[in-house]
Structure formats: structure tokens, C-alpha cells
Subunit: 346 residues, 2 copies
DNA sequence: CCCATCTGAGAAAACCTTTTCCCAACCCTT
DNA sequence: AAGGGTTGGGAAAAGGTTTTCTCAGATGGG
């Protein structure tokens, strides 16, 4: 027939355990046991069944297994971070941690839409997910959907957990400490802090840590400058810090990499050299920004991928019935040194 | 008991159709038919069953349904774009298009790892996904995994399709046209093109379209400058374009927004005004970059979210047995006007 | 030679839902 | 009152796998 080539592809039907059993001349029960290493039979029988299964390309139907075991080996991942700067590494971490255990991840983008969130949660519950990971773009905000009385365990990663639930977030205070202490080691003494809007919880956490470290070292504490998360605000902050008559900072710790970028650009425009005159550290370690600044930006990395990994593992242990301590667990940040701070003094 | 509060939460068992049937005093068959609007029974019976189901909070077990219908209402989404600039909007589009049809999406991050890809594909097949969407960070490269002889339909989005498969990509030539023609409408005549590495297919597609438009309008064609996708390359390119003795461009069409950013910064450093002296257009419409340039960058948007949506719908119609025309379908780009090109002449 | 034990393997139930087929009762017509 | 059609609802199979129970035959001990 000429038209054969134009036909839609025919999709082969998967081979079932029953077919394997028939081909090997045993019952399905025996076949199942042979493949799972259960039951008793001669080594010869077991091997024959296995060989038959291999030859036929048998793969057990997960749906049937899940139905029986009451365990689907799937989890749901809820996020409202469309932009993805934070949630993508996190999602990759979750997926990586789980794929090796045979667990697949449902991606649910809920935006900030309650209806969409409800829809996704119901779809997942209907599909009998073993658990749910909730993640967001802000540590201090809830997702637009209530996960408090679900019939599966929930882990919160990088978003605000419900009371009594398990939550994993980055240790922002620790990260800020890392930055300021790095400056101190390099001999910087007049350290300023430029951060985002005061409406964000992390802004205060980081600012408090900044103040604490300076106080511990009996150094002058400049009032943190709070504004936006943007480059433009970085420019503006430089004008405030370096435009006056007073003593000028020799280091600026920024609330994110975009601010830091604005700061570095503004400093260059004023003829102030980075890192020679002023050191700059950012936050987030958003490589595309950190590597494009001149000089490349030293920054704090929140280890989001490993946060995702930990969240995946935490959920799995909840699913397996091992209770996890409720409350928020903070995971350490990491300092990534590039060239915006200079070398330690001899 | 005092320790009650400390016990792990007990997760309620889902209610089954059987329980609904018993509660309503009918058989499971009748209950099923009542809830699905099938079969014949008195309106009173049907309503009573529905009410019982509602009261008990019954939700059908998708796994059981899938097993029977041979249709799982799940699809797999393969990506190797860890960075996520391209794949996240795409994923969001896919998810959005499908959630309303009750279809959930498995997220599979395969990096560039064949083993990981194999693992994910097998896991999905075992879970009886109805189809797979393959997406990548480069239009002209394959994913590191063979999807050509699967037993489910596959749609390729923003990555190179296997021969005979269905693929959706952005119309890069059309996008380039949009940019150059916008310059022409604004009265620009000496239009340069600065793009990424020659190893990328899109670089040539866009460059060819650039040349074609200029030729059609009998304008001088500068040889496109190919380099990197980075800001640094944008700087460098400005040195080449504006450092010599020859006639200088009054417009630069850039291969992506980062290059455009570098170009704009370099122009400003030379005292050349944007948009007064030179207009600049980028590609990708990566908002975080496009809005941070001074002035904000006019750019070409590839409509990735709607590309994802289309991919989702295309896969669904394949799953439903409606054959789709194989080959590559190109979706139009969109010009997003900001302030880097100026206004049309009076 | 008889009983107890062990061995290898199969039958059947279970997981939950959908769908086909079937049956009893009722209504209407002649 | 017999025959035919309709109505309301149930029984059972199917989907693919796992697990428990059962059982026939073989082996060993006394």
C-alpha cells in the first residue's frame, strides 16, 4: 500500500506480566515472584523467567503497582515563581534527588492564582502523589493555596511553611555573615549595606546579621540603605554613600547581584576603583549577572540546588513514615569569590 | 494521652467508590454511572448518590481510571536547560495549557547526561505517560536521548526534532525581520548586526534575514559581526563598529539582550547617545536585562510561553489520535518596543 | 512403610474504577 | 392474559500487578 508511509505511527502495546508468564510456561504469580526475587523456585526457573522478560522487553506497569501498593512514586512540586531565577535550580535539585529513587515530579505552576493552585492540588491528589513540595519566590510569603490538611505529607522549600510543617530555607543571616566577615579578613573596615525593600523578611535578617558582625568587631555601623532589588537602586545608593562629605565606605555588601551590579557601574562612573578602592559583594550568585560585572562579582550563593535535594529527601522520609522534626531548617550559604573584593593584605 | 500532639500526622485514607455505593445503598456499578452521567436510573437515585459522594468527599482514584482507560492523563517534559531562561516560560506554557484538561506534567531535567535521560524516559514510560514533550536550550541541537521509537507520541519544542517528528520553534528569521524593519520605519539606514557564535543555527538564520531585508530596500549591508552571547562581546563589537574611520552605523540589531546591553553601555562610554545617535534592538526580551539597560531595551520576544502552550496542545491532539503534520512549525516572534530606538521621524 | 517436613509452583484475592451484559419488574397493547 | 417494549439497577469482567494461601509431590526420619 502506497499510503503506508503517511500513516500515523502505530504505537506498540507494552508487554504484560501475563505474556511473560505464558512465554515462560509459568503462572503470573510465579513470574512476578521470579522478577522481584520473592518466593521459592529453582534457580533455573527463576533465570528462565528473567531471560524471557528481558527478551520481551517487559517493564512492569507502574499504574498497576501503584494501585496495589498505595504508593505512586510521584510527588508534586508547587511553585509560584514564573520567573524561575530561584525555583529552577531548586526544581532541578528536587528532580535529581528523586529520580534515582524512581520517584517522578509533577510540575505545578500556580502563579499567584488560588483557583489554579486548587486545580493543581486536586489533580495531584487524584493522581495519588505520595507527597508535595511547596516552593515560592519569597521565603516570607505563603503560596496562594492551603496545604495544611492534605492527606499527604508536605515539605516547604524556600517559602513560608504552615505552622507545624517541615520547612527548608537558606540561612540568610549566615550568608550575610559570610560576606561581612570576608570583608573583614581583607582588611576592610568601613562596610556599607545596600539592600532591597523593607517589605521583605530577608532584608531584615541580612541587615541584622550585618550589624551584628560589625558590632562584634567594634566597627562603625552604617545604617543599611533599603530600596529596591534593581540596578537603578544600586546607582542611587552609591550617590548617597559617596556623594556626601562624610567618610566613604571601603566596602559595600549588597542585597542581591543586581544591586551590586548597579553599585559597581556607578562606582566606575565616579572613577572609584573596584576592588582597589571599594570592595563589593552581592547576594544570590546569579551567574549571568555576577560574571558580567566588571570586575566579576563575588557573591553569596544560597545553594538552592542542594536545598531542593534536601527537600526531596525530607519529603521521602516523611512518605516512608519516618517523622521529621517540624519547623524551619536553615541550610548554609556559600561564598563564591570572584574579583570584586581584592586579595587579602600581605 | 499527652504525647498525642507530638505524633506524626495521620493521613486520612481516601474514600472509594465502594464506600459511596454502600452509603447510598446501591451497587458500585450504579454509583459509577450516577457520577459519570451514564446509564439509566431515576433522577432521584442519581441525585442521592451524587449527594452522598459529595458528603463523603469522594474523588475517583486516577490510577485505577488510568489503568482501565489505558490513558494516564500525564505527559513528560524533558529539558536540558538547567539555567531556565528559555525553558521556564516554555514549561509554564505547557503546564497552563494542560492543567485545564486534567493533564499533569512530569518535569525531567536531563542536563546533557545520556544516562540521566534514559533514566527519566524509562521512568515516564513505566508510569504510562500519554506523551512526551522534548525541549532544550538550543534550537539546533538534539537532546542527549533517543526518542525516535517510543511507544508514545513526542513533540519537540525549541529543540531539534527527529526526522518525521513534530517540532515547534520560534520563527527567528521573522523575528530578525521585525527588528530590521522597525529600524527602517524609524528612518535608520545604516544598520549593523552583532550576534553570537557562528556555531549556532539561529545566528545564521537571523543574519540571513537581516541581509535579506536590507537588500530588499537597497541599503548597505554590513557584514554581521559574530562573537559571543555576552555583554563583553557587545563592548568589543562597538569598538570595531565605531572605532574606525569609516561611516558609522545609526542602528545596531543584536543577537540577544546581553549583547545589546554591552553595546548600549559601550556606546554611552563613548559619548554616543542611544537612541538619538544610534538605535539598538535586542533579542529574547529577557525582561530583567531589557528593563535594566539605560535606556530600556527594545527587543524581540520569542513568545516562548505560547510556544509551550502550542506544544502542549499539539501533543494532546497526537495523543487523541488526530495526526499532526510532521515537520517543523515556526511560531511568530513579537517586537516589544521600549526606549532604545527613538520615535519615528515627523 | 508411614508420617512429617520441605519444595516448587499455582489459584485467587486485592487494589479501584468503568463498561458491557443481563435480569426482573412494570407498562402498554391486543 | 399473553406478548413485547421499557425502565431501573446489579453482576461480572477487565485493566496489570503483588501477595497470601494452598497443594501436590518429593524427601527424610523412624
Amino acid at each position: 500500500m502506497v499510503s503506508d508511509a503517511e500513516q500515523a505511527p502505530v504505537f506498540a502495546k507494552p508487554v504484560t506480566l501475563r505474556e511473560v508468564a505464558v512465554a515462560a510456561g509459568v503462572s503470573v504469580a510465579t513470574a512476578s515472584k521470579a522478577l522481584n526475587g520473592q518466593g521459592r523456585m529453582t534457580a533455573e526457573t527463576r533465570e528462565r523467567i528473567r531471560e524471557t522478560a528481558r527478551l520481551l522487553g517487559f517493564r512492569p506497569n507502574s499504574l498497576a503497582q501503584s494501585l496495589l501498593r498505595r504508593r505512586s512514586f510521584t510527588v508534586g512540586l508547587l511553585t509560584n515563581d514564573t520567573y524561575g531565577r530561584f525555583s529552577l535550580p531548586l526544581m532541578a535539585g528536587v528532580s535529581d534527588a528523586l529520580v534515582d529513587k524512581g520517584v517522578s515530579v509533577f510540575l505545578c505552576n500556580v502563579e499567584d492564582d488560588t483557583r489554579l493552585g486548587q486545580l493543581h492540588v486536586e489533580a495531584m491528589l487524584d493522581k495519588r502523589v505520595d507527597g508535595i513540595i511547596a516552593t515560592g519566590k519569597r521565603i516570607d510569603r505563603h503560596l496562594p493555596v492551603d496545604l495544611s490538611n492534605l492527606r499527604v505529607p508536605v515539605v516547604y522549600a524556600f517559602t513560608r511553611p504552615d505552622p507545624g510543617a517541615v520547612g527548608l530555607v537558606s540561612d540568610d543571616a549566615g550568608g550575610a555573615r559570610l560576606a561581612v566577615e570576608h570583608f573583614l579578613r581583607l582588611g576592610r573596615r568601613r562596610i556599607a549595606h545596600v539592600s532591597g525593600p523593607p517589605g521583605f523578611g530577608v532584608v531584615h535578617e541580612r541587615a541584622d546579621a550585618y550589624r551584628a558582625v560589625l558590632q562584634e568587631n567594634n566597627l562603625p555601623i552604617g545604617e543599611p540603605l533599603l530600596g529596591q532589588w534593581s540596578e537603578a537602586w544600586g546607582h542611587e545608593a552609591v550617590a548617597k554613600l559617596f556623594g556626601g562629605m562624610g567618610e566613604r565606605p571601603d566596602a559595600v555588601f549588597c542585597g542581591n547581584d543586581q544591586i551590586a551590579r548597579g553599585v559597581i557601574d556607578a562606582l566606575r562612573e565616579r572613577g572609584i576603583r573596584v576592588p582597589d578602592d571599594v570592595g563589593v559583594i552581592g547576594f544570590d550568585n546569579w551567574e549571568i549577572v555576577a560574571e558580567a560585572t566588571r570586575p566579576p562579582l563575588t557573591s553569596i550563593d544560597m545553594n538552592l540546588e542542594s536545598l531542593g535535594r534536601e527537600a526531596g529527601l525530607a519529603l521521602l522520609s516523611l512518605v516512608d513514615g519516618r517523622p521529621a522534626a517540624p519547623g524551619i531548617r536553615k541550610l548554609p550559604c556559600r561564598l563564591v569569590v570572584r574579583q570584586s573584593c581584592g586579595s587579602p593584605p600581605e
